[in-house]
Amino acid sequence: MSAPTDRPTGQRPEGHVENLDEDGQAPVRRPGELNVRELLRWTWRQLTSMRTALVLLLLLALAAIPGSLIPQTGVDSLKTSRWQDAHPQLTPVYEKLGLFSVYDSAWFSAIYLLLMVSLVGCIVPRTFVYWRALRSQPPRAPRNLTRLADHASYTTDVAEDEVLAGAAAVLRKRRYRVRIEGDAVSAERGYLREAGNLLFHLSVLVVLVGFALGGLFGYKGGVILVVGNGFSNNLTQYDDFVPGSLFKSSDMEPFSFDIKDFSVDWLTSGPRAGMARAFDTQLTYRESPTSPEKSYDLKVNHPLTVGNTEVFLIGHGYAPVITIRDGKGHKVYSGPTVFLPTDQSFASFGVVKAPDAEPTQIGLEGEFYPTVAFSKQTGSYFSAFGDTLDPLVSMLVYTGDLGMDDGTPQSIYALNKAGTTMLTKKNGAPYRIDLRQGDTVTLPQHLGTVSFDGIQRWNKIQISQTPGKRIALAGVILALAGLLGSLFIRPRRVWVRVRREGDGTLVEAAALDRSGGGDVAVVLDEIVAALPGAPERADKNSEKEQS
């Protein structure tokens, strides 16, 4: 970085344009004043400096932290809305900062784009420098080879040009780039170190591009599926769906799968007793409607991959099988109903809606307890254990208008109670139905019956398509290769000079490790020992022999 000149006279930076006023007088500049062009150049140099790139990279890492700590709308919209309900103070602030969708936020994109620009601005000029260095000839031999830290010399009666030719051959065989100039041979190797360095920088760019492609053309979605049911990769089948800004639904791979079976191991002892571990989902899937059916074992951190799309198992829970018959005896609702866990012991919350019940619509809202227990302190049920040792469904009944027929979108996990009335007992207390598996209760006022027929499980599945994934992976691998190259390839220079000395030839050799820290003495010994007419043991680091 050259500091901008603050004197109106003297050296001007290259490309500087005098801004003269109307009289042709150069206006006197205050210290630190820059014209637009200088300011732009200064900004560009700042942006493309290595330091800036590193700072931006660090910022990118920091910026990714809120994305993993704060629930993201794109990952789990339900969890996010719950978190927002629980934190009414923070939510508006976080909304403003875009913390619920970090990776789409303006500031995250800004960091990303600045890093890209910085890297490109850094790489392009350097590429030319590297390119020239790669093609350059070994530098001329220094005048005093003996001044170098690692040098050796000997005298021999082999002719000078023969020694030179021999030295060149020896060095070429050791894969040095060799140049003979006058009385000396210059040799250099390790040019690929520069290439490794360049490859590393380029690869970082490739990784960034790969991730950007995934973010722009990919999508992330989630769905809750009851075990025994299936999914086909169509937009209608997702519970939540966050497409990239350039995503097209025609890019979706036409796969489908069925959840055949699901098992959980519960820990019954030790400090983590009551926790579930080792979930395991058995799938059958087809990559397209006409492909053969295959099976797959889906586990946490063991996703199913179809083309660019990955299917992850990220959660599980219970779906009580509930049947509602209405006042006319019609089965108006049946099947597994997804209840969402509210704690570690899988006490779960859910709603059942029967909008087609007659004489009036029926909505149920309540909890499912896999192992029910009663707390005298709170006077309510809780779940003592996550497995279904003693399951109970406990719900309140709402009748009237569930608000499903006016077209307003509605979550299947929430009841719109605005147009309903809660069923109460004669004394005004809420009418609560507590059902164990197999129970049926007849509702008052000839509304119908509710049965709790069984329990099924559900899986929360996350599906994401990230087209640039392989590009990013290739970038990471290349970056590693480049980094290793720039770390372990030793750039060395070796010079051999011959001089007539009495009736013999004085041979001087020296070596230099340009990366520092390399021990070239050994290397030099080997080379010298191979030179024509070299003594058995080169007389290293000594003044020339008095023969």
């Binding site: 009851v226 169509n234 036409p254 397209s288 409607p289 049947t323 108006v332 909008p355 077209g407």
Partner: protein
């Protein structure tokens, strides 16, 4: 996922392959869309849980009744936990046409690469040969929209058959 009710039509020369769709209806009877070749088929994507579907149901049923024998309506019911919910919907709105019961939505993959009904509600109109001719993605603007669209598809098919 909901659409905005946008209508798309495909010129007869640009229509793709014949859509093949088979499945079971709400009573477990086999349905094959090929049986309806010879007149336009209106495919209705719906679910009893889908509030916009419920809101527009009277308009859709009115269109089906108005078109009568001029077109065949076929529902695709998705994401209902059982046929009971779907049958309740049919009872409530007096739905006159059959529906394929497809809780996992695989029936929709048949339309891939054409005018994918990628939102619920949505409609796809097939011409007399069983090729995708038009679609409405999102809630039905009005009964007339659907009636006119079927009329367009029907006449375009006849023109192409004559010329």
């Amino acid at each position: 996922m909901t659409g905005d009710g946008s209508v798309t039509e495909v010129a007869p020369s640009d229509r793709g392959d014949v859509v093949g769709l088979t499945g079971s209806d709400l009573d477990g009877q086999d349905v094959d869309i090929a049986a309806f070749h010879g007149k336009p088929v209106v495919v209705v994507v719906w679910g009893s849980w889908c509030t916009p579907c419920r809101a527009e149901a009277p308009d859709v049923v009115a269109a089906a009744n108005e078109l009568g024998d001029k077109a065949q309506f076929l529902g695709i019911n998705i994401r209902d936990a059982s046929t009971d919910q779907a049958k309740g919907f049919v009872r409530t709105f007096d739905v006159p046409y059959p529906s394929v019961f497809s809780p996992k939505g695989d029936a929709l993959l048949a339309f891939r690469g054409t005018l994918t009904p990628n939102s619920i509600p949505s409609f796809v109109v097939l011409d007399g040969e069983g090729r995708v001719a038009a679609s409405i993605i999102g809630e039905l603007p009005s009964t007339q929209t659907l009636v006119d669209l079927v009329g367009d598809v029907d006449t375009s098919g006849k023109v192409s058959a004559d010329g």
